[in-house]
Amino acid sequence: MEHTPPPLFRTGPTALARLMIFAMLSVVLLIADARFNYLTTLRQIAGVIVYPLQRLAATPAAMGSRIADFFVTHNTLRVDNQRLTAQNLELATAAQRNAALHKENTHLRSLLDMQARVNVPSFAAEVIYAARDPFSRKVMIDQGLQRGIEPGRPVIDHVGVVGQVTRAYPWLSEVTLITDKGQLVPVLNVRTGFRAVLSGTGDDGRLELRFIPLTADFQIGDQLVTSGIDGIYPQGLPVAEVTHVERNTAYLFANIACKPLAGVNSGTQVLVLGPRPAQPEPPQDTPATAAPKKRKKS
């Protein structure tokens, strides 16, 4: 009994006890989050608390770029204008050709009685900041649940696929980039029509095609676009370009590295695509494999 402090110095549990309590709480949260994904509501609440700070912290940089925009030189504008006019002309030709092809395509599709391809709605968003987490590749964008963004939506920029919304908060959402380790995108080789799954490596600017047989036809420079069989990404969005192919007969699979086409680390303007029209239910008797681990040979 002589070790109990007098009431004057009583300060509650000792520091070690408190450490244990809070460490246990953190571990419980970690497990609940990593294993079971239980904490959506708690995340939403904390997300609302931290939101003003997130916006406030992004303000100086945004203001800086706005000021820089204001002082853009006449020459830059002229060069930009020239480039855009040239590009516009090019695109106009392409668009005309595309319109004709589209008409022809719808006609053929109706002849074949296939489901008409529906345009996916989309809306623009701005990247606020890249998350500081060195273990993952994520960015925050300035649109959230309020605008109808839900986890799972694909995010693209003017060139190709950037990533996928993984968490949505009321006014922000978190986009996992395609370079994040474990982020998968079902793709199609434009040249050969070979379907594969592109996975991020956690390394900026490097993607991998895994489990590709040695005999598969992949060459450096091949363009990969989304295959659309996952029900998430619309078909035909450019994703990556093959940069390295190594076929070593000592291994079962070829070693194929790619680089993302979109400005995964640099872009600030992105487009979040809306939900795709409902896919037909998979037949009941076959086990519905949602995981996009398909290794179909074409």
């Binding site: 300060t11 520091a15 070690l16 408190r18 450490l19 309590i21 809070f22 460490a23 709480l25 953190s26 571990v27 419980v28 949260l29 970690l30 609940a32 989050d33 990593a34 904490l39 708690l42 995340r43 904390a46 997300g47 608390i49 931290v50 700070l53 997130q54 406030l56 912290a57 992004a58 100086p60 940089a61 606020i128 900041y129 890249a130 998350a131 500081r132 987490d133 060195p134 273990f135 993952s136 994520k138 925050m140 993984t166 968490r167 908060y169 978190e174 380790k181 474990g182 956690g202 680390n265």
Partner: protein, 173 residues
């Protein structure tokens, strides 16, 4: 080292809890600034630094609950695992509170030497948690931020002590 001369110490004013709160919010803001590229590796975790500072200097005014909740907010902002920063900051707060009497007595250089291992240990715990959750080792650059953080410690200590310095007494000659 020979006998260290006792440097004259200024009696500091008591710190206001409001000031602690403001510094912590400012640290959170600094963490949320849109860093990119190499700066992302070099930039220290300001919240960890500030929490450690207050735990060492004013262990009675800041508690585990503060450190833990700040950790949760950082987890949201970073999109990392929920509880990862909370665990790290809790352990850091404990280290600060346990070592506060010791570290306070040391000179600035020695304090920095105390801070480096504490910050390194915290990042090691985060690394361990993420490794258990299946992440890869991000490379040794991951630890760089701790050293810049420790290098900033003297500046931080100076800044955070400013409002505690007593005003010069106009009546004294």
């Amino acid at each position: 080292m020979a006998t260290r001369p006792m440097s004259p110490q200024v009696l500091l004013l008591p710190v206001k809890p409001g000031f602690i709160a403001i510094t912590l919010i400012a640290a959170l803001l600094a963490n949320l600034l849109p860093w990119s590229g190499w700066a992302l590796w070099l930039v220290p975790d300001f919240v960890a630094l500030t929490v450690l500072y207050w735990c060492i200097m004013e262990p009675r005014k800041i508690g585990f609950l503060t450190a833990w909740s700040l950790g949760l907010l950082m987890d949201i902002a970073d999109g990392s695992l929920f509880g990862q920063h909370a665990l790290a900051y809790t352990i850091l707060a404990y280290a600060g509170i346990a070592l506060n009497r010791r570290v306070q007595r040391f000179s600035m250089t020695a304090q920095v030497l105390h801070v480096i291992p504490l910050l390194l240990f915290t990042s090691l715990i985060v690394l361990l948690v993420r490794a258990l959750a299946g992440a890869d080792f991000p490379g040794y650059a991951y630890f760089l931020g701790n050293f810049t953080g420790a290098a900033l410690w003297p500046a931080l200590a100076y800044l955070l002590k400013l409002p505690q310095r007593p005003r010069p007494d106009p009546d004294r000659v």
